[in-house]
Subunit: 417 residues, 2 copies
């Protein structure tokens, strides 16, 4: 996955060249340079309304750092390409007609986002601007890559059928619960996959550009772009259903490692006497805090994934003794897992994502006690533990951003049409 | 420590402005800009010979990217300031007189470097150019900050007395086996320190600029500058005597975390049934692989630090059964610790530093077997496990670099004289 996510960011705008340059520039060179500057300003404007919502022309003038007449030209160009529209704003609170705001056209371009879970495929149509327009959950019984591709294709077909007729799909982004590199799902123990060329398989089946990435890395991306981690430069997003991993932002940049596999903290051995893990080791963090750990501790049958684990949480809420003990046990391990993250990465913010968020909500005190005991004081004082803004949909929204990247980089490129 | 190490790097040279600029520039502005460019080129030249050793003028012309006459001026300026000299080189292999090489003058400027270990203070005088000129090991019996400051001051005084009379000390760099922030040793469990203002205490005592940082972060710095990790952008340096920590380079930059405490992997709980750790938790990685773990496993008295642990390794080499079993046990945990690092950071290179390097050498097969079992295949295939180029002196040399930073940034600044 290394390098597949070019983190969309503000601040890439380039001011137009001065009206009267002090040194002569050959006309051809000047035209080329002007075209490059215009392309970057179009990118900055579209990115701004995509990430931050509708903005007035005067707000855009300030945010992008170009003058008002340039903004007018940029808006007109993007409007002509069908990417933005202008609509009455919410009103300025002063008398007079409400100012117009420039809006990303969710009805013109959309991404298909897919979150591959162990027993489910969650898929959504996400419009330009980042809003979920439609969301599906399909069961995904055990099976190989063919079965998974078929379910994803089915979900994508249903979402495309229901899309507005004039809307164009920019591609399919897929969140994978395992290690991803170069479009290949390298190791996805809980789906039983090794070296599955998932991006190629799906592209062949769907006839659309497909990008795949690790679920935790996508979760932290979505939260940093629009969610609970906006403006935070040191963030860990702990993702966990059956498998457990971390998406890490450090110094404002994703921590990826040399091959894009960094953050596989689910396979740190934390309990030498723990049960065997599908990775081949034993007592890994994910065998202690994943969905299967909760099912095992509650004496329920294995293999039910997050749906069955939610049943244990519900039973605990209703006072079932076995479920309550199971929740307490796994919550203690979750606390130790949070300590591991805080000691290792010294983040300002840890987001407990995916179904682990529900466990955290259900047993915050138990988690906190174990965390406090196991984390070192200095990094603990600097870390805030919180839930993601997008609940269990962070990874899905991150997957959509994967495939908006090209359009945002170069809004008028033919491939984006 | 966050932000205290500005990683010295090549490639900061700025070409001189073109001889005939195409646009007129006000004379005052041009002079200011030329002074800035000259300062940066002086910095680049001094950094080059400091980090990479003696270089001929023609090599410097190429490395720094300025013309030959500019190099002449830069060399003359630095020579006048007493920072470089020119000497006959090793010979070109061709006939004729050997070419002159520009050399950093180790006899003109030196750093004092201190490595605070649990039972020892190791200190060195390190000349400009990075060579160790003198090295001392003083015993440091248990005791508070006052005792440590006294031993460091004694070591520094002895090193200064023996320095060449004309040499100036640029400052004192100290490696601390714990968490460091803003010149304060925040938590150093194995020295029993909490929030000790070590930099201030030493500055007051020594009358010299003092910088302190975490030992593992300094170890990886030294190895990246001149040692086994030159050119590597994804490196983990595992440091361990009694305590254990990691210095991490990711994407070419130090991983520090929001407060500079990242990499405290010694306090990840890996064995819930392990012994209590001085951090307040139990079964931490450092209680399983640190020097005390080896002493405990061998049935020897606690508190002997790396010196006593080396005795266990020696006994194992001589076939003592208890020592051999102890080495095997701790080597297994070291392998699991390496797996933890590889799963978490996906590095291209892991350096087993400090006294742990001796354990790795003594029991490579046992370490490797445990590592292979516990690391995920994909990141394991990308990681090389190796020993540091500077053996147990990496942290000491990194500490020296801490205090060369200012001189290298601005060679002619008055404070550097």
């Amino acid at each position: 996955m290394g390098g597949e996510v070019a983190g969309p960011r503000l601040g890439t705008a380039v001011p137009a060249p001065p009206a009267a340059p002090s040194a002569p520039v050959p006309p051809g060179l000047r035209a080329a340079s002007r075209a490059g500057i215009r392309a970057r300003n179009l990118s900055a404007l579209l990115r701004t309304v995509h990430l931050h919502g509708p903005r007035s022309r005067s707000e855009l003038t300030e945010l992008i750092g170009v003058n008002r007449s340039t903004i007018g030209v940029l808006v007109a160009t993007l409007a002509e390409a069908g990417l933005v529209g202008e609509q009455p704003g919410a009103g300025s609170g002063r008398a007079g007609r409400p100012s117009q705001v420039v809006t990303a056209r969710a009805d013109a371009r959309y991404a298909l986002a897919v979150d591959l879970r162990v027993r489910q495929v969650v898929a959504a149509r996400v419009g330009l601007g980042g809003g979920v327009q439609q969301r599906l959950e399909l069961p995904a019984p055990d099976g190989g890559i063919d079965r998974a591709v078929a379910v994803v294709a089915q979900a994508c077909a249903r979402l495309r059928e229901a899309a507005p007729p004039a809307a164009a799909c920019v591609g399919v982004g897929v969140a994978v619960p395992g290690m991803v590199g170069g479009g290949v799902a390298r190791l996805t123990p809980n789906l039983g996959w090794v070296d599955v060329p998932l991006a190629d398989e799906l592209t062949r089946r769907l006839g659309l550009p497909v990008r795949i990435d690790n679920e935790a890395d996508l979760g932290v991306l979505a939260e940093q772009l629009r969610g609970a981690a906006v403006g935070a430069d040191y963030v860990v997003y702990l993702s966990g259903e059956v498998g457990v991993g971390a998406g890490v932002i450090s110094g404002g940049r994703p921590l990826r490692g040399v091959g894009g596999y960094a953050g596989e903290i689910g396979h740190i051995m934390v309990n030498p006497r723990g049960v065997p893990c599908r990775c081949g080791s034993r007592g890994c963090l994910e065998t202690e805090i994943g969905a299967e750990a909760l099912l095992r501790a509650a004496g329920r049958p294995p293999g039910g994934g997050a749906v069955a684990a939610a049943g244990v949480l519900a039973a605990a809420r209703q006072g079932e003794a076995g479920a309550r003990m199971a929740v307490a046990r796994v919550a203690g391990w979750l606390g130790r897992g949070l300590a591991l993250l805080v000691n290792t990465f010294n983040p300002a913010l840890v987001l407990v994502g995916g179904p682990l968020g529900a466990l955290y909500r259900a047993a915050t005190d138990t988690v906190t006690a174990a965390y406090t005991e196991a984390a070192l004081p200095a990094p603990r004082e600097q870390a805030r533990i919180a839930l993601p803004a997008f609940g269990e949909d962070s990874t899905l929204l991150g997957a959509a951003e994967l495939v908006f990247t090209d359009l945002l980089e170069d809004p008028l490129a033919p491939s984006a049409a």
